[in-house]
């Protein structure tokens, strides 16, 4: 019997080529398109990403071209709660969410992966640019990271899996995959991890896939017109996002803000105040409903607290530990040291992922070698050792 793989097909070129490659490699491939949103597009209200019905038809067309079965799975309710709901809540508590990570952790690599295996698939594959490396023997605590005191573990037994960056650094998506653990990695395939985008498009053309020249999508699929502020205005009643004062770090009140959810850390444009030099958002203080602004150097910090930490190996490294840390998807990771820390969950409150706690340590202090600009609560902090993803968590406070 052939190995069965379910490919999550969004209707984009990456997942199309994922399906093509796996079929070429001899797998029995099943295409699945997730229904995530039932939002209706109307005149002047367009959705990007992978939610449109156009994308569904593109995925189906690709499946037909490749002569593979294609199904659609309904995750509308799951997505509404664990992604859209999370997205809104995150802004409401003064943070900046990453909905793609929430979707990966709760929908793609949880609900979809479970369904795929329950239906009889051996693997789930996606078009993410990242690599999974299989090793024989149990995971070493830190996957080879230089820790200040630890000793290497003995191997033997079940295979273990490393999550690594893509070969093409410009496309690497390992940042949004940090929440994966051994259980998931053993069931996942990322066939694009060794390829460049140019190669992927060439393969799509070779197979005459309809999506070969479809532009990449970077937008959040459920946010209309690529404007999260419009989403907030539509979804959050005005009384829940009251205006308040804009205060300089030095104490001066400079004006009124339109409601804290409309701002993010490091934001410079659209503050509606003018003091002769550029001002940056440094903090969203939900307790006093104050937007704090300051100069460029006021946005810099050297340390941060991270909550809901998970480890790809399933085992925390010995601390303190030297790593590189990436604090948003387009940040170049920066050297830092991890320290154990237990802080009361601040603005964060409840853990986003109820499956936490296996390592017994889910909060962590990160001290960078160099100050970082605009460390933003709510965004993911991902820990790397070279190409290897060690784990990560959610930035709680600076």
């Amino acid at each position: 019997m052939k190995t069965k793989v379910v490919v999550a097909m969004s209707g984009g070129v990456d997942s199309s080529v994922t399906a093509a490659l796996l079929k070429e490699q001899g797998y029995e491939v099943y295409g699945v398109t997730m229904r995530l949103s039932d939002r209706q597009e109307t005149e002047g209200r367009k959705f990007g990403g992978c939610c449109g019905s156009k994308d569904f038809y593109d995925a189906r067309s690709v499946a037909q071209t490749l002569d593979i079965p294609h199904y659609s799975f309904d995750y509308v309710e799951k997505f509404r709660g664990s992604v859209i709901g999370y997205f809104k809540d995150s802004y409401m508590k003064g943070e900046t969410p990453n909905p793609c990570i929430a979707c990966n952790q709760n929908v793609k690599f949880d609900a979809l992966l479970n369904h795929a295996t329950a239906l009889g698939a051996d693997y789930l594959a996606t078009g993410h640019y990242a690599r999974i490396e299989r090793h024989d023997g149990p995971p070493t605590t830190t996957s080879g990271v230089t820790t200040k005191t630890s000793s290497p573990r003995v191997s033997g037994g079940d295979p273990s899996y490393l999550l690594k960056k893509a070969m093409d650094p410009s496309k690497d998506q390992s940042y949004v995959l940090y929440g994966l653990r051994q259980k998931e990695l053993s069931k996942l395939l990322f066939p694009l991890g060794e390829l460049t985008k140019t190669e992927v498009r060439e393969i799509a053309r070779r197979y005459s896939l309809r999506t070969a020249d479809k532009p990449d999508s970077y937008e959040i699929c459920f946010v209309p017109n690529e404007d999260y502020r419009q989403f907030i205005s539509e979804e959050v009643p005005a009384e829940q996002r009251p205006s308040g004062s804009i205060r300089h770090v030095d104490g001066r009140v400079l004006g009124q803000h339109k409601g804290l959810p409309y701002y993010t850390i490091g934001q410079r444009e659209g503050l509606g105040i003018s003091v002769g030099k550029p001002l940056y958002v440094t903090k969203l203080d939900t307790e006093t409903n104050t937007l704090v602004v300051g100069d460029k150097e006021d946005v810099l910090s050297t340390s941060m607290a991270v909550r809901d930490v998970t480890w790809v190996s399933g085992v925390a490294p010995k601390l303190p530990c030297d790593v590189s840390v990436k604090i948003r998807s387009r940040h170049v990771e920066s050297p830092a040291t991890l320290f154990s820390s237990s802080f009361p969950a601040g603005a964060g409150g409840e853990s986003m992922d109820p499956r936490q706690g296996h390592s017994g340590m889910t909060t962590m202090k990160v001290v960078f070698d160099q100050p970082q600009s605009a460390i933003t609560p709510g965004q993911a902090a991902v820990f790397y050792n070279g190409d290897i993803v060690l784990g990560g968590g959610v930035i709680d406070h600076v």
């Binding site: 002569d67 199904y71 309904d74 369904h115 329950a118 239906l119 009889g120 698939a121």
Partner: protein, 404 residues
């Protein structure tokens, strides 16, 4: 995709029999004439249509084949029967009586008429999906111009007491339309015994081709055409005849009449074996529909704590084709109106699956399904928090708690 499928979805469609395909081919090749033409090339086609009309007439007990008009399929026949009679009797009244478990071709046609001034009474059914003829009688008023009842339900297979309803309609002088899509070619039918004035037929439900059907219209029935144009089908249904399809329908009708008894015995045996095994091996499963008055090929089961959609995909990945409720477009996860009408709770209706067997199914195929089905159910239930609660004794089974 040239896989071998175990096809258990014959209420959705069937595989045309080889004799049917053979009968169609000449009309797609050399015999391309227009049946309305005077010259011989046209006359050959006219002859093929007339033969098919006689073949179908025999199957449904019609003495005068001219009472049969060919259409573009079952849905068209149904639309024509309902709208055609409604429009022709506008001066008499604007009330229609039907049931709550009709196929959407009937339902949506009636809903449409409601938007343009007609009134429709949807008579309820019992726990087994049977309509009580007395309730039809009570629903008929002086304004009623049509009663429309299905012969057998496509989702649960329940056979309706059409003969009794036919008597009532005659007594009240109201025309009766019977949607017989699921029964024509499978069980003996006589329009006289049913007492109907209109009867809808679709060829692909009994091993004929898709895209062709027929409407029986009793002589003297007041009906308007649905499709206007040329004088085809005695001015009743315009459009150049689909001769290949009609010839295929005719042969399918002839074969159905010949093999009906044998096929019923074979299919009933397989269906009973499958149903018995599943109800025995799958915990918390129940049969939907009438145990007695039921199509011999249909088995609709509710499987607790499982999503029907997942079950279908899981079975498809094993090469088994079944469906949940009626075949609906992807994207629709609303539970079926039929299961709702017979009082199946929402959570059970979502986990319902329909097996509909056919003449080509074999004992080996059914054995494979009996082996695979409980495993797929078990794997899917592994994901269900409802099921784990039930197993831990934290929650009662909906099925176990309800006497069927």
């Amino acid at each position: 995709m040239s896989k071998h499928y175990i096809y258990l979805d014959h209420n959705a469609t069937t595989k045309p029999r080889p004799e049917v395909v053979e009968a169609m081919l000449p009309h797609l090749r050399g015999h391309y004439g227009n049946a309305s033409s005077i010259y011989q090339l046209g006359q050959e086609e006219r002859k093929a249509i007339d033969i098919a009309r006689e073949q179908l007439a025999k199957l449904i007990g019609v003495q005068n084949p001219e009472e049969i008009a060919f259409t573009g399929g079952g849905s068209e026949s149904i639309n024509w029967a309902i709208k055609g009679v409604a429009f022709a009797n506008r001066d008499k009244g604007k009330h229609i009586v039907t049931t709550k478990i009709e196929h959407s071709a009937v339902m949506k046609t009636c809903k449409y008429l409601e938007t343009i001034g007609w009134h429709v009474t949807y008579v309820g059914v019992d726990w087994h999906g049977r309509v009580e003829p007395a309730h039809i009688r009570e629903a008929i008023t002086k304004e009623t111009v049509l009663v429309s009842v299905m012969h057998a339900n496509n989702e649960i297979g329940t056979i309706e007491p059409v003969e009794e309803i036919g008597k009532i309609c005659r007594e009240k002088s109201v025309p009766l339309h019977v949607d017989a899509l699921q029964t024509v070619g499978k069980i003996p039918i006589s329009v006289e015994a049913l007492g109907c004035d209109l009867l809808s037929i679709g060829a692909h439900k009994f091993y004929g081709p898709k895209g062709v059907g027929a409407l029986y219209i009793r002589l003297g029935t007041r009906i308007h055409p649905l499709i206007h144009g040329g004088s085809h089908e005695r001015n009743r249904r315009a459009g150049t005849e689909n001769v290949a399809g009609i010839a295929g329908l005719g042969v399918a009708a002839e074969l159905a009449l010949k093999d009906m008894k044998h096929d019923e015995k074979h299919v009933r045996h397989l269906r009973d074996k499958l149903e018995k095994a599943i109800l025995q091996h799958v915990e918390c499963a129940r049969l939907n529909g009438d145990p007695e008055h039921r199509m011999f090929n249909t088995s609709n089961l509710s499987i607790e704590a499982v999503e029907g959609e997942g079950l279908i995909i899981g079975l498809d990945m094993q090469g088994i084709c079944v469906s949940s409720g009626s075949a609906c477009s992807s994207g629709q996860t609303e539970p079926s109106h039929v299961l709702k009408a017979i009082g199946i709770p929402m959570e059970l209706a979502k986990g319902s699956i329909r097996f509909s067997l056919g003449r080509e199914n074999t004992d080996e195929e059914i054995d494979k399904v009996i082996d695979v089905f409980p495993k797929v159910v078990e794997r899917l239930r592994g994901l269900s928090p409802l099921w784990s609660d039930y197993k831990k004794g934290l929650r009662k089974s909906v099925i176990a708690g309800k006497a069927a």
